[in-house]
């Protein structure tokens, strides 16, 4: 006989130390869930709110953009940025709704990993978008009439120096944002990859 079989009986007949009554169970199911997917969705919402708030607090100087000829570009950037965030919030919500605990563990984890993929794309597209917007803006500004005299003053190596600073600054901003994203979303889904690998390990 399987030496583990004797444990089955013990396992199946184990008692509960502190069983909960109906009242406590009723209260329990109405508490808030703390599941990973819900938090990914909430974090994306919070982030959207934060960006929106930031835009409200710091007024956009559209006239300034006009003088540099960036007016239409910045409007495009804003519209595209909001549309992108809203699209991803919708995708996060869809993922959140699609995840069902009563499907198989593998399917459930696959769904959660899909959410992770959505997060990855969200971060990547956001970072590329920000880097491009900043780079293009500086390009237009440096080529504007106002900066022409400054460029001449800086001499031969001036533009190279200026661009080096700009590129460094952009990389710094993108780097900080990457760290921020990795920290928040990375923490939420750290354990899953390992579990999924364990589950799907081929024979």
């Amino acid at each position: 006989m399987d030496s583990l079989s004797k444990y089955k009986e013990v396992w199946q007949n184990q008692g509960i130390e502190n069983p909960l009554d109906k009242n406590s169970l009723n209260k329990l199911i109405h508490k808030r869930s703390s599941s990973i997917v819900k938090w990914i969705f909430y974090v994306s919402l919070f982030e959207f709110g934060f960006v929106l708030l930031l835009n409200l607090i710091i007024p956009t100087d559209w006239e300034q953009y006009k003088t540099y000829g960036l007016y239409h570009f910045m409007i495009g950037v804003s519209v595209f940025g909001y549309a992108l965030t809203l699209l991803f919030i919708f995708l996060f919500y869809k993922n959140y709704k699609n995840i069902s605990v009563h499907e198989s563990t593998k399917d459930l984890m696959q769904n959660i990993l899909n959410t992770r993929k959505t997060v990855k794309y969200y971060i990547l597209i956001n970072l590329i978008f920000i880097a491009f917007a900043l780079f293009y803006s500086f390009y237009v500004i440096f080529n504007s009439e106002e900066y022409e005299s400054l460029m001449t003053k800086l001499g031969e190596n001036g533009p190279i120096l200026l661009w080096s600073i700009v590129v460094f600054a952009i990389l710094f901003v993108v780097g900080i944002m990457f760290l921020f994203y990795s920290l928040i979303y990375g923490l939420l889904i750290k354990k899953l990859n390992k579990n999924y690998k364990e589950l799907t390990e081929e024979v």
Partner: protein, 165 residues
């Protein structure tokens, strides 16, 4: 506020809460985490209850939701405390006269389970509940053959943990 659905659910939950307790005990190391996971599983069960169509036994469905929550939806990922720290007296037991009480068997079983991976825990729990390979495969989303192979490996590991040489 108490709909019929809710009343029925609470009744089922009260009767079968031992399943959730077993899963919590297997997947957590202290009472606080146990309670947290118990709550999360209950919430997930309640959220999915209206979709339960009775295709499988209620207890099998409960196991699936509970394990899924413990494996993938539960947010806490605290560092595992070595079982020696959890059960400081476990080494002394070997010096005592061998007493094969059910309680001790259960204790050593949980100690061994704590040393398994999340997926191995799920396999062992389903095995101990006498679930068929078909049910186990369905629950985890792997093939029956794969379930058998994984189960055999896990059983070997469990036996080693229960009877160290």
């Amino acid at each position: 506020m108490n709909s019929e659905l809710e009343i029925n659910f609470i009744k089922e939950l009260e009767t079968n809460q031992n399943i959730i307790h077993k899963v919590c005990k297997a997947y957590t190391n202290n009472q606080d985490d146990h309670n947290d996971l118990f709550q999360e599983i209950s919430i997930q069960l309640w959220k999915a209850y209206d979709k339960f169509r009775g295709e499988s036994k209620f207890t099998t469905w409960m196991y699936r939701v509970a394990l899924n929550t413990a494996i993938s939806l539960y947010r806490k990922s605290k560092k595992r405390i070595p079982t020696d720290e959890l059960f400081p007296n476990s080494k002394e037991l070997t010096y005592e006269e061998y007493d094969d009480t059910k309680e001790k068997q259960l204790d050593s079983l949980y100690q061994a389970i704590h040393r398994l991976t999340d997926i191995e825990k799920a396999l062992v729990l389903l095995y101990l509940e006498d679930k068929s390979y078909k049910d186990i495969a369905l629950c985890l989303g792997i093939s029956e053959v794969n379930a058998r192979v994984k189960m055999n490996r896990t059983k070997v590991k469990l036996k080693e943990l229960l009877n160290p040489i």
